[in-house]
């Protein structure tokens, strides 16, 4: 029945030369893998470097300034003779501008996303979406210009006593800047909702609005929320718009009509001047940077978690 497993010379011949080649082949493969791994480790190195630098310089800063003062003092004037080191004004500025931006961006962005994904014709969407994505690519300094020289004058016509530098204009422009971001990510999330789910709803006799609100939005909700959170992180870390248009005076206020500095604006302002390496002013921007980093990092992590959940949906 079975023939005896005699080894035929032919099969011997075909196999052994291959084995000889293995050693060299395996070595090359290993070397390539090692090089690629080094490249991947650069990401880790970067993060470590960021954390290390921020911590190192901040440590120098906190040798001079107590952590208590940093978090409780109400003034931030590290460069004055009479220096105060309370981060609160910068945080207030950051939060106010970000809040305004989100107030503008979230509703407009969401509505635009729903419109594009559920109401607009295929053609409209195919044209509008890339244009929106272009908006994401516009350099922020240009938006700063726009806020300062276009929006603020416009606002001043409505609110006469608005300052030339103010958080309102900066916030609004930042909001508009973020709209495409939210619209695009949220629309992606909604588009990822399978067509058969929509057909399921329409087949039940639902209208477009019912389908959009009752089926598509809930299905895409985690994607949409992730878009919001990433937008917050973006607003908090945004630099040039506020640096240009919101003013650079730390000011502990939540009044959008006033001018105030954000954390980012402060860093820019200091960096523009020629501060000596190692001075307390120099160190202060790292301390501010550390606060910024912690804030955005938390948002990013939340966003990441939400997004991961949404990936697992279908």
């Amino acid at each position: 029945m079975m023939i005896a497993p005699a080894i035929t010379p032919a099969s011997e011949l075909t196999i052994s030369p291959r084995l000889a080649k293995n050693v060299r082949r395996n070595f090359t493969e290993r070397v390539i893998e090692f090089i690629l791994m080094l490249a991947a480790l650069s990401a880790v190195a970067t993060t470590f470097a960021i954390v290390a630098i921020l911590l190192y310089e901040s440590l120098g800063f906190f040798k001079t300034v107590s952590v208590w003062e940093f978090f409780t003092a109400k003034e931030w004037t590290p460069l004055f003779e009479d220096a105060h080191y309370g981060i609160a004004p910068l945080v207030a500025g950051t939060l106010t501008t970000s809040a305004i931006a989100l107030l503008v961006a979230v509703p407009i962005g969401t509505i635009a996303a729903i419109y594009m994904s559920e109401f607009a014709s295929y053609k409209t969407r195919e044209i509008v979406k890339p244009i929106l994505e272009l908006l994401v690519g516009v350099p922020t300094v240009v938006f700063g210009y726009f806020a300062l020289l276009f929006v603020t004058p416009l606002l001043q016509k409505v609110i006469p006593d608005l300052q030339g530098f103010n958080m309102l204009g900066a916030g609004i422009v930042m909001g508009i800047m973020i709209v495409p971001y939210i619209a695009s990510v949220a629309e992606d999330a909604m588009r990822a909702v399978p067509m058969n789910m929509r057909e399921g709803s329409y087949a039940m006799g639902a209208t477009r609005f019912q389908t959009a609100i009752r089926v598509v939005t809930p299905a895409a909700i985690s994607g949409i929320v992730a878009a919001y959170i990433l937008a917050i992180s973006r607003a908090v870390g945004e630099t040039m718009v506020v640096a240009v248009a919101a003013g650079q005076q730390p000011n502990l206020t939540f009044n959008p009509m006033e001018s105030a500095a954000t954390i980012t604006a402060y860093i820019v302002q200091v960096a523009m001047g020629d501060l000596p390496h190692g001075s307390i002013g120099y160190q202060s921007i790292f301390a501010a940077g550390l606060v910024l980093m912690v804030m955005t990092l938390s948002f990013n992590i939340i966003g990441h978690i939400v997004r991961k959940k949404y990936r697992e949906q279908y």
Binding site: Y122, G200, S201, A203, G205, A206
Partner: protein, 259 residues
């Protein structure tokens, strides 16, 4: 066998359909759907089965540029559901559909079934509760899910999801139910349960089902229509189609001959 007289529930009259790219997908189809019967549509891929089925609840209206020509008349009210004045939403409220892949909404089991009622403005909790239970029973799912109506529908197995979709469609008391290859995404066990369900549903409503699986058509349907290249080649009792089809083309298709 059973020579009872058949009531026509709906019929397509000289129905033509054109996709937005101009493709003439249906070519003058005349076909009845008999009340409380299951009619199966078979034919090679791309022959227009789904296209025909989707005319019945005007799914094609969701995509711009598609065009109907001809009539689908529903009885007893004699409405041509393709007429311009007839709102597709109204049609879909009378004719429900179950899709190829189970497509429950990302909601609870309960809310999935209640959806059609809510869309119709249903508010009364008691009424909805009753309807939901009734529909789930009708879809042979009640016993399996009655203790976890608030679970997410995605947590059900594929076959259960499909039965949930059937329950969802049932909840609004449709007159006709359309199935587009309802078991092609399911394993044999789930397939068997859906097929049994369909033959039970026949007592309540009229069914039109597209299937690739000839044996499935043979198993579940009372009448079978064979379509080819957008034409209706033969419409006969299922028993006849698979054992002694009238048309040579049907015979060739069914026996796997080169047409």
């Amino acid at each position: 066998m059973d020579q009872v007289s058949h009531v026509t529930k709906a019929e397509s009259r000289n129905l033509n359909f054109y996709y937005s790219n101009g493709a003439h997908a249906l070519k003058g189809i005349n076909m009845p759907l008999y009340e409380n019967k299951i009619t199966a549509l078979i034919g090679p891929s791309g022959c227009g089965k789904s296209t025909f089925l989707r005319c019945f609840n005007r799914m094609h209206d969701l995509y711009p540029g598609n065009r109907y020509d001809g009539q689908i008349v529903m009885h007893p009210d004699n409405t041509n559901i393709l007429a311009d004045g007839v709102d597709p939403i109204e049609v879909r409220m009378r004719i429900s559909m179950v899709f190829q892949k189970p497509n429950p909404f990302p909601k609870s089991i309960y809310e999935n079934v209640a959806y059609g009622l809510r869309v119709r403005g249903g508010k009364n909790k008691k009424v909805i509760d009753d309807k939901v239970e009734q529909a789930l029973r009708g879809a042979a799912l009640w016993d399996e899910v009655k203790d976890r109506l608030n679970d997410l529908a995605f947590n059900l197995s594929g076959g259960q999801q499909q039965r949930l979709c059937i329950a969802r469609a049932l909840a609004t008391d449709p007159e006709i139910m359309l199935f587009d290859e309802p078991t092609s995404a399911l394993d044999p066990i789930a397939t068997a349960s859906i097929e049994e369900l369909m033959t039970e549903l026949r007592n309540k409503l009229t069914i039109l089902v597209v299937t690739h699986n000839m044996q499935q058509a043979a198993r579940v349907s009372d009448y079978t229509a064979y379509m080819y290249l957008g034409d209706l080649v033969e419409f006969s009792k299922t028993d006849d189609i698979f054992i002694k089809p009238k048309d040579k083309r049907t015979e060739d298709y069914i026996t796997g001959r080169i047409g």
